[in-house]
Amino acid sequence: MHKLILLLLILATRVNLQAQYPGYSVVADLSKFKTEFSTAAQKTTAIKSDFIQEKNLSMLSEKIISKGKFWFKNESRVRMEYSQPFQYLMIINKDKVFVKDGQKENKISTKSNKLFQQINKIMIDCMQGTTLSNPDFKTRVFENKTTSMVELSPVTKGLKDLFRSINVIIDKKDFTLTSIDMLELSGDNTHIRFTNKELNATIPDALFIIK
């Protein structure tokens, strides 16, 4: 009888997880995934790509779609340049963030801004393959045929108020980032998809300079 209950519980948990993310199942060998992800990320010193960002406002049945270009270079440097339908530039260089909207420029130190520091860390971790060791989140890993999905559930107070989870989709071929989905408590989400990826492209350091 106990064995039957246990079996039913295992089945129920598995069905529940699969229902949460249709087409995905839990990664059985997590340590193997961690090693492969980390090893592949270490070989990737630079990434250049396009991106499409979709902000879904569920209760308003509205989507805000924006597009731009993305650059990553080791260590800890990211540049996101939105070009449609608005102009916006964000550069992350280690613990500094620079933003330019229209004609205005703004420098932010992530040391003095906890939230920026946490978001900054997610971005960099995704690129460097260290996502699974971020102490701000509880992580679970799922997979389908072509991708792995790292589900990051916030455990720290600031992030818990903002996000239900942040799901990072990784291409199984090269372990590079395919998309990030930021799920809010309200049911809204922001999905950023990376396309036309060039791994280890030559990217000038000048792109990340914060004056």
């Binding site: 960002q53 902000k55 406002l57 209760m59 308003l60 509205e62 805000i64 779609i65 924006s66 996101m80 939105y82 339908p85 608005f86 916006y88 964000m90 933003v99 909207d101 229209g102 205005k104 703004n106 978001i119 108020d161 903002l162 930021m182 809010e184 309200s186 809204d188 922001t190 950023i192």
Partner: protein, 210 residues
């Protein structure tokens, strides 16, 4: 830090409003206006996205403001930054009701919400009670004055009523907020500006074509 300073200043301005005592524009000569003509400046939001610039106390930030008229005729305003992080989600009803669906903790202060609510109500032009309006003229401009709580809403047009020159939120003695709406396309203003007079706080909206 920034929001606590804003809160302090908002409270200070509220105290000032409470102790002020007569209207500035009521000294002006009365005039006959055209309320129906004023209605044409009321924005007809179906759905509009605005590039948003906010400057407060020497600090600057930007984002996107989505304004949408819902099937029940309420207006929803959602403000997020460019990378999708949502700051607030408000609902305005035509009967004057206001609902906060979500707001980040740092902005969730009574004084901040009250200020934003009043600023946006001014530009939505929903609270224009024709039975309480008084119209005045000064320097070739028509002033439509509507009592609004402890203060007033002013809608100021040229003498012909063709152009909306500016809008104001005022105490009994002093203008507290000035706002403009310009370049209407199909009933939706392309440019909206809100500027506080009692402390350094401006909001600039420029419509984005999608």
């Amino acid at each position: 830090m920034l929001l606590s300073r804003m809160r302090y200043l908002l409270l200070s301005s509220c105290v000032f409003i409470l102790f002020a005592c007569s209207t500035a524009y009521k000294q002006m000569p009365s005039a006959s206006g055209n309320l129906n003509g004023l209605q044409k400046f009321k924005p007809v939001f179906k759905v509009a996205l605005y590039n948003t610039q906010v400057d407060i106390m020497g600090n600057h930030f930007s984002g996107l403001l989505l304004i949408k008229k819902m099937p029940d005729n309420t207006i929803r305003m959602v403000f997020s930054n460019e990378i999708g992080f949502k700051f607030f989600d408000f609902e305005f009803s035509t009967d004057g009701a206001f609902k906060v669906y979500s707001v980040i903790k740092q902005m969730n202060k009574k004084s901040v919400l009250k200020t934003l609510r009043k600023d946006f109500e001014l530009i939505l032009m929903d609270r224009m009670d024709s039975s309480k309006v008084s119209v005045h003229i000064n320097n070739g401009l028509l002033y439509y004055i509507f009592p609004n709580g402890n203060g007033y809403s002013h809608y100021i047009t040229d003498s012909t009523g063709k152009d909306l020159v500016r809008m104001e939120r005022a105490s009994k003695k002093k203008t507290v907020v000035e706002a403009i709406m310009k370049n209407y396309i199909n009933g939706i203003p392309d440019t909206i500006g809100i500027s506080h007079k009692t402390f350094d706080f401006t909001i600039g909206l420029k419509r984005i074509e999608r």
